[in-house]
């Protein structure tokens, strides 16, 4: 049991590091691909952590914070999912089964912070602003910004500590078709993420490049890295052509 406590503390710290990404430049190291590796590192199975991280990353692909929409809390999902698989030596697919529901649950908690606690802090800051007290705002901002991350990582750590024995009992009674179903879903869900990203980027002129990328990999078996390098060439050609065109247009205006 002592062992579990140590692991829970390490897991809490990793989660805190992950949540802090938005305090140190939105570096996206809260994504499962990095979180999985960090959990693996502290729990002594780096390789498994990396592999699970990569799998979960694809599942959470479409989870991006744009405008007022907040994605499932992937830090908690990735951290607890990965940690559980490593600690109880479970199948890698189990990480997906756990990560998706956990991430959705913790988002509810985070939503409470973002709709009640943080606005409340902002209203305190408003009072300081009205008094011209910049130091007061500095204080409130630091407490609010770091505080909500402390709370979230404690939620992750405590859930892990209390949850692991419980998860093991629950998983023992879950029928095989459900756990296998999550495995199958993990293969399909990336399509949803890709569709969400494509929605952001597609225009009538550029939709052909989506198909080109698909065909290069489907028929020629080109790895994604190769396609990305090819895409870079295409992008550079486009930039060059467009720049020449705009320079001409500006010249035309001048004369």
């Amino acid at each position: 049991m002592n062992n579990l406590l140590t692991q829970a503390i390490l897991v809490t710290l990793v989660a805190f590091v992950g949540y802090m990404h938005s305090y140190v430049g939105s570096t996206m190291h809260n994504r499962p691909i990095v979180m999985g590796a960090l959990v693996g590192l502290v729990l002594g199975d780096l390789k498994t952590g990396i592999i699970i991280g990569g799998t979960l990353e694809l599942v959470f692909m479409g989870a991006v914070p744009i405008g007022a929409s907040n994605p499932p809390d992937m830090v908690s999902g990735a951290v607890i999912g990965t940690a559980f698989v490593i600690v109880s030596d479970a199948e890698i697919g189990m990480a997906v089964t756990l990560a998706v529901p956990i991430a959705s649950l913790v988002l509810l908690f985070d939503n409470f912070q973002m709709s009640v606690l943080l606005p409340w802090m902002s209203h305190i800051a408003d009072k300081y602003a009205a008094q011209g007290d910049a130091d007061g705002i500095d204080r409130v901002t630091r407490i609010a910004s770091i505080g909500n991350k402390v709370v979230l990582s404690l939620v992750v750590g405590i859930s892990f500590y209390l949850g692991v024995p419980m998860i093991e009992t629950i998983l023992a009674v879950i029928p095989e078709w459900i756990t296998r179903g999550f495995d199958v879903a993990a293969g399909i869900i990336p399509a949803l993420g890709f569709a969400m990203l494509a929605k952001m980027l597609v225009t009538k002129e550029t939709v052909a490049f989506l198909l080109l990328g698909f065909l290069l990999t489907a028929y020629l078996g080109l790895p994604t890295f190769g396609v990305a390098l090819g895409g870079l060439v295409v992008a550079l050609i486009l930039i060059n052509n467009n720049n020449n065109n705009t320079v001409k247009e500006i010249d035309d205006d001048d004369f």
Partner: protein, 271 residues
């Protein structure tokens, strides 16, 4: 110029740079990034209005208003705002309502470009390359992922502030800088789309357990389908998802439907 001319120093800008990194960390549903944007501007405001409580209060309140922008490029806006605040502090005639006006009118279009570049294109490329390395258990996966996001992220954060402050509100009326941004955004989008296409083929997997034919001639249905076209099912799934999103079906709804269908499929033996 008189001795009262107030000038923002490089060290103020450095502080703005560091503070801008926290932009998303105090996010709330009411005014989104306002608290951290105000926090970001404070070093500048201290320099300009440090000796005048009333002007300081007005400036702080100005920046406590609603704010929503992509964190990696918010420094461009912060630079423009800093230049305007400087003008405001030094000139009686400056209309200070133009500061929130410019801020509000720029954050929308900037977020449009920035979100699709950083959370769209760049993340796609980083995931595409990172995950293929991670799948083999290589530590290069997360490291390469991190670098692809953060080298451009911190470069744009640094140069955004520099050019934003130097050009001030002129930045967006400058046709040349606008043309460059539009070009780079479009080209990067093309690269991102190619990577998405490639990943639809390599990362989406659907294996049907259904067999066709009988006895020794029995073959998995998946194999027949891949004769039509390799990765045909992943492509169809992708198109279906894209269509559903276009019909404004929520992504979480689709997510849970996929999980339910997968489980039921396993139960009846389709998968």
């Amino acid at each position: 110029m008189t001795s009262n001319t107030k000038k923002i120093t490089q060290s103020d800008l450095n502080k703005v740079f560091l503070r801008s990194c926290t932009l998303d960390s105090g996010w709330d549903y009411e005014r989104q990034q306002h608290l951290n944007f105000c926090f970001t501007m404070i070093p500048v405001l201290r320099r300009l209005y440090g000796d005048d409580k009333e002007k300081m209060a007005a400036a702080l309140q100005r920046h406590m208003e609603f704010m929503s922008c992509t964190p990696h490029i918010v420094t461009l806006l912060a630079g423009i705002v800093a230049a305007m605040e400087e003008e405001n502090a030094n000139s009686e005639e400056f209309d200070e309502t133009s500061i929130p006006a410019v801020k509000t009118s720029l954050m929308g279009p900037m977020a449009g470009i920035g979100d699709s570049f950083f959370w769209g294109t760049l993340l796609t490329i980083a995931v595409g390359i990172g995950c293929s390395l991670s799948a083999q258990g290589s530590i290069a996966g997360p490291i390469v992922f991190f670098l692809i996001i953060n080298v451009p992220g911190f470069l744009s954060r640094y140069y955004g502030l520099k050019y934003g402050y130097e050009l001030g509100s002129k930045f967006f009326s400058d046709a040349k800088s606008q043309a460059i941004i539009a070009n780079v955004t479009k080209a990067a989008g093309v690269l991102g789309l190619m990577v998405i296409g490639s990943m639809v083929a390599s990362q989406v997997s659907i294996d049907l357990a259904v067999m066709v034919g009988s006895g020794d001639l029995a073959m998995p249905l998946s194999e027949y389908i891949s004769w039509i076209m390799p990765c045909f099912l992943p492509l169809c799934t992708f198109i279906l998802m894209y269509y559903l999103l276009g019909k404004n079906v929520k992504s979480t709804t689709i997510l849970f439907c996929v999980i339910i269908i997968s489980c039921l499929g396993c139960l009846v033996g389709i998968f």
